[in-house]
Symmetry: C2
Subunit: 237 residues, 2 copies
DNA sequence: AAGTTTGCCTGAACGGCGTTAAGTTCGTGG
DNA sequence: CCACGAACTTAACGCCGTTCAGGCAAACTT
């Protein structure tokens, strides 16, 4: 009998509808308007119904976050597709950063949900992202960098760490810009995008793009290399 | 008569007590526990009383943010004081970044309030920080960089932009680490601090620290330099 | 066909939130 | 002594996330 299968399908469909309602609400009205009641009203169900499909708000928002990462991936592939044939791995990496910043500007609601502490009201500080933080996308960036390294385009000791650093660079500038802390320095989105471009360019130079063989003074910067020691402990709960 | 003056003093004292209660509550219990009611309970007043001293929660939190920036400044000066006499401007800049990261690890509650959208429930995306975003500290960093540039330690076109980029770099890594997105890559605070160190070092290389005269291939990276054009518009409300 | 079970859904409530209007207390100035 | 005004509280409003007893129709059983 296909009845239980139909039910299962309908159940999944409604579950999907809920996520979509939350996603749209977030895009259209911002994070502040994302309440269980408003979501319920949008899908024309009672608020209590949502709890038959999601354990709590966090789980629902988690699904929205997942959708956000997929959207980010779309931005990335689209930005990459704009590149000319001659683009090298470095150009591809720059395009990825550009896509990241553009995504954030277009979907700041998503951006907040994805990167401010997920639980929103979570107490312990370093929040756990239930492991779904787009492993694919990051891995692809790492692979791109590894490719560049092999091609002699950059001389960096650990591509993985380099990728993290690049992520931090773009993410930090974006986050600061969106939260208004760069308001005095940056006045328009175009100006901001130019900043991103310049920042990534600087980073490239640091990684040895275009240089023969980097100096890499590893042991230098002798003094004060133990980092904070005691106090650094307390940060983690 | 000194009566009105005494009253004014008392008024200011209570106002200060409220801010301190909020600050402590934030440090001890996290952002989620920072409610008007809990603050009121801590100072043993009715919640309504707070509204005689602050227009709304945002204004109160704004004061806490101000306190947070002062604390950040303390971290910075303390970190700078650890440097040996021989430290150059580059070392000082690195110390500033280190202080920033250490501050965030020790006071993640502060960090959230300071850099996630201040209003917390604000609708329009790029929040305005009422202009109180520690102008001093940032200016001092800029001055430090300018000094380094004059000493020939780095060859960067615009120190101000360089400072912003450096800020973004450290802020982004910190933000990602605190929100758990670097959980798979970084496992301890020490590891994270080392990452910060490495990141700043890479950035230095990019800025030409220790190089004679940087190449600065300004016009290069020919293709796709108009940044996002159309879509970038919509991000701002 | 009738009765029973099952699964989906809701109304109403709980406690907590930010915020406000009305009311109380009380030291002060006329 | 009285009236004013400042300081403070009580009680409520309308949000929020969440839970639970109940209703109701579709599906199964006999």
């Amino acid at each position: 009998m296909g009845i239980t299968e139909r039910r299962e399908r309908e159940r999944e469909a409604l579950r999907q509808r809920i996520v979509e309602a939350a996603r749209d609400l977030l895009s259209e009205q911002g994070l502040g308007a994302l309440s269980m009641r408003s979501i319920a009203e949008r899908i024309e169900y009672s608020p209590a119904t949502i709890y038959l499909y999601f354990r709590d708000k966090d789980e629902l928002v988690g699904q929205v976050v997942r959708a956000g990462f997929e959207r980010l991936r779309d931005y990335t592939t689209e930005e990459l597709s704009r590149l000319p044939e001659t683009a090298d791995a470095a150009d591809q990496y720059a395009a990825t950063g550009r896509a990241y910043a553009r995504f954030a500007l277009d979907n700041c609601g998503y951006f907040r949900v994805m990167f401010e502490l997920p639980g929103s009201a979570r107490i312990d500080c370093p929040a756990v992202t239930d492991g779904a933080a787009d492993p694919d996308a990051f891995e692809r960036v790492v692979a791109r960098l590894e490719e560049a390294r092999r091609a002699g385009l950059l001389t960096v000791p650990d591509v993985r760490r380099a990728a993290v650093i690049g992520w931090g660079l773009v993410h930090g500038l974006t986050s600061l810009y969106l939260s208004g802390h760069l308001h005095e320095e940056m006045e328009s989105n175009e100006e901001f995008m130019a900043l991103i471009e310049e920042a990534m360019h600087s980073m490239y130079l640091g990684w040895g793009v275009g240089q023969e063989a980097a100096v890499r003074p590893a042991g230098r910067r002798s003094a004060v290399h133990r980092t904070g020691s005691v106090r650094a402990e307390t940060g983690r709960k």
